[in-house]
């Protein structure tokens, strides 16, 4: 999609009345939720294969938090 087309869509979104914008936001949130579930199913298989459990996750958080 070209930048022009995206700009046109964004301009039309800005012109939407509040009620329609809420409907759009709800639709986009549902789309994201569906995509997250698809990605999560794949990621959990990958995590299982790689041995990523709660302890590994806790250590990863510590590593990011302390720049290890």
């Amino acid at each position: 999609m070209s930048h022009t087309a995206v700009d046109e869509i964004l301009a039309r979104i800005k012109e939407l009345p509040d009620d329609d914008r809420l409907v759009l936001n709800e639709f986009l949130a549902q789309e994201e939720e569906a995509e997250w579930h698809e990605e999560a199913a794949k990621a959990r298989e990958q995590a299982k294969t790689q041995g990523i459990d709660q302890q590994v996750i806790d250590r990863a958080v510590q590593a990011v938090r302390y720049g290890e």
């Binding site: 949130a29 994201e32 939720e33 995509e35 997250w36 990605e39 999560a40 990621a43 959990r44 990958q46 995590a47 299982k48 990523i52 459990d53 709660q54 590994v56 996750i57 806790d58 990863a60 958080v61 510590q62 590593a63 990011v64 938090r65 302390y66």
Partner: protein, 138 residues
């Protein structure tokens, strides 16, 4: 009841734990208010993509999903510091700023502070048991 979940809970929900999924769902179903901070949102993305190697898109979606379910709290300057562990201070400060009742974390240094000025700091397994005791988990 108001709850603040540390980064590891959201990452576990996305990647591994049925327990994390169930505790977040039960918290929402009980209509307990969940708070989150920009610090945790940033950490979710960094832990998932940079540290654990999952796609940036999935990390971004997980961040957005966490944000959708929570009230954003942006703590300003704060006197609350975690002694000897400054990396944990933003978590404590956000939980205090949000006036939550419970902070859920697996960070040992934070857990050692409980109770902290009315804030109960629980491990994921302790919070899970709390939900079970209150019959909020099936």
């Amino acid at each position: 009841m108001k709850v603040f979940f540390d980064t590891n809970v959201y990452v576990a929900e996305a990647l591994s734990g049925d327990a994390a999924r169930r505790m977040l769902a039960a918290t929402a179903k009980a209509a307990w208010r969940i708070s989150i901070s920009p610090y945790v949102l940033d950490e979710i993305e960094q832990v998932m993509s940079v540290q654990l190697g999952f796609s940036r898109r999935f990390a971004f979606l997980t961040r957005r999903r966490a944000r959708r379910r929570a009230t954003l709290v942006e703590p300003g300057s704060s006197r609350h510091q975690v002694p000897g562990d400054p990396g944990d201070s933003p978590i404590l400060q956000a939980a205090i700023a949000a006036s939550v009742d419970i902070l859920v974390t697996n960070d040992a240094v934070l857990l050692a502070l409980t109770p902290y000025e009315g804030l109960e700091i629980l491990s994921m397994s302790s919070y899970y048991r709390l939900l079970l005791d209150r019959r909020l988990l099936a």
